[in-house]
Symmetry: C2
Subunit: 304 residues, 2 copies
Amino acid sequence: MQSALPQQVKIVEVGPRDGLQNEKETIPAEIKIALVDRLTAAGFANIEAASFVSPKWVPQMATSAEVMAGIARKPGVIYSVLTPNMKGFEAALAAGADEVVIFSSASEAFAQKNINCSIAESIARFAEVAAAAKLNNIRLRGSISCAFGCPYQGEVAPASVADVVKRLRDLGCDEIDIADTIGVGTALQVQHVMQLVAQDFPIASLSGHFHDTYGQALANIYASLEVGISIFHSSVAGLGGCPYAKGATGNVATEDVLFLLQGLGIQTGINLDAVVDAGQFISTHLGRKAVSRAGNALAAKRLG
Amino acid sequence: MQSALPQQVKIVEVGPRDGLQNEKETIPAEIKIALVDRLTAAGFANIEAASFVSPKWVPQMATSAEVMAGIARKPGVIYSVLTPNMKGFEAALAAGADEVVIFSSASEAFAQKNINCSIAESIARFAEVAAAAKLNNIRLRGSISCAFGCPYQGEVAPASVADVVKRLRDLGCDEIDIADTIGVGTALQVQHVMQLVAQDFPIASLSGHFHDTYGQALANIYASLEVGISIFHSSVAGLGGCPYAKGATGNVATEDVLFLLQGLGIQTGINLDAVVDAGQFISTHLGRKAVSRAGNALAAKRLG
């Protein structure tokens, strides 16, 4: 099986956006900027830095323009932002985003409950943003939530994921995320879905976004590597909980993913020690322990 | 790869012994008995219930005879106990243990530091216990710590693990555990070691004992399944910390392992809900949150 694993993996660090967006206490822009700058210095090639959504819906992201203006950009690094509509896109453009992210769900129940329309409609609404991104030479990423299970309808058919992949592909997405929003996917299911959607989209541009709610994220990443997936999302210090199970774990921790990839001999270009530092930095600010097993073990070892 | 996975897996629940042994507060025998009884009811075929070591060394295990006398045994279930010497073996025999566990390390540095002798000597010292177990028709299990890394010497050669496997096999062990005591192993390394030692011992009687210190346990279990390992150790509620990194995670949580196996369609005979209950029971007694992602997510879902 060794020969089948990719030699190189891109980690998309989502902590500053996906991780922090649900924090109740307002985090000052300078803290977010310091976090992004630490992540840039650690070597990430892609950082999800902000979200141009209405501050009414996500108050924590109200500082997004300030954050984008304040970070020290490294040439070649992709700073991504979430853009729910043209207003968000205009803001992203003004902020100099390298990539805009549009999103949908593989679950009809989730789409209806969250955006009060069908999956197909939700994607059609992004056509203008997609066209504007192309026109402005900005990378376009599409994110598909609930690809392995839904908090409202339970099971999600792999064919639904494939259908959404095709719709996002047709809008011109450069990269598509297959996301396990509630963390219920397991290894063989993940391999099955990834192999299915790879029939409709280049596998080199498919990413796995796993949550560790049921402890499965690392096994799912390893299983994804075995079928050729080479882009993964993760969140420093495991930032971001699970809105569907209070107190449960959300995004897989970047430190744990890097420990796995290092062990497998896969290149990422990222310095794990620097990521542990960034995780301790933001966890100290938030006044809690990092939700990363490798991060906490490595930090404990330093203390001796 | 699907066809290669075992259809059935035996989980050895180690919470009552390996999990609880380092707890500082004395846990009353009746609580331990209630825990073992809940685990029996949940359907485990093998429970590590006690340890007949000197109470000077492991005060928490001083109640072992009481625990073994108090549990409600289910026919067919193997109740295992740790026996460091003949005194321990006699006590295990008197207590009606179904299996005794002897142990060594794959790391010379670890053996020297912990028992002040070589690996070879440490195993030779178990010859009398092994012979007595055979004479009394009691199952004999051998446990090999530090099989994937050592807190003192760092790397451990796979050949050292194979050497210890052969020595334990020659003492008559019915089952041998390959244990990642400090949780540093990663998936390909685990497959390599498992495949190597399977050349010297029946793979059906080799078990994987993984710690989640760096978040790798589930990925390592999945990787082990792929090479045919079908026995795994785990600890309800993730009982048992890591003595080599304060505050870090130890034994992989049983709930997380069962969630994986259920998803893979592998039979265990164990009721996950009942295990979540047992985990909440002991965690409530210990006054802390369970260290199981699946356990906590499932418990949170019940509360709604």
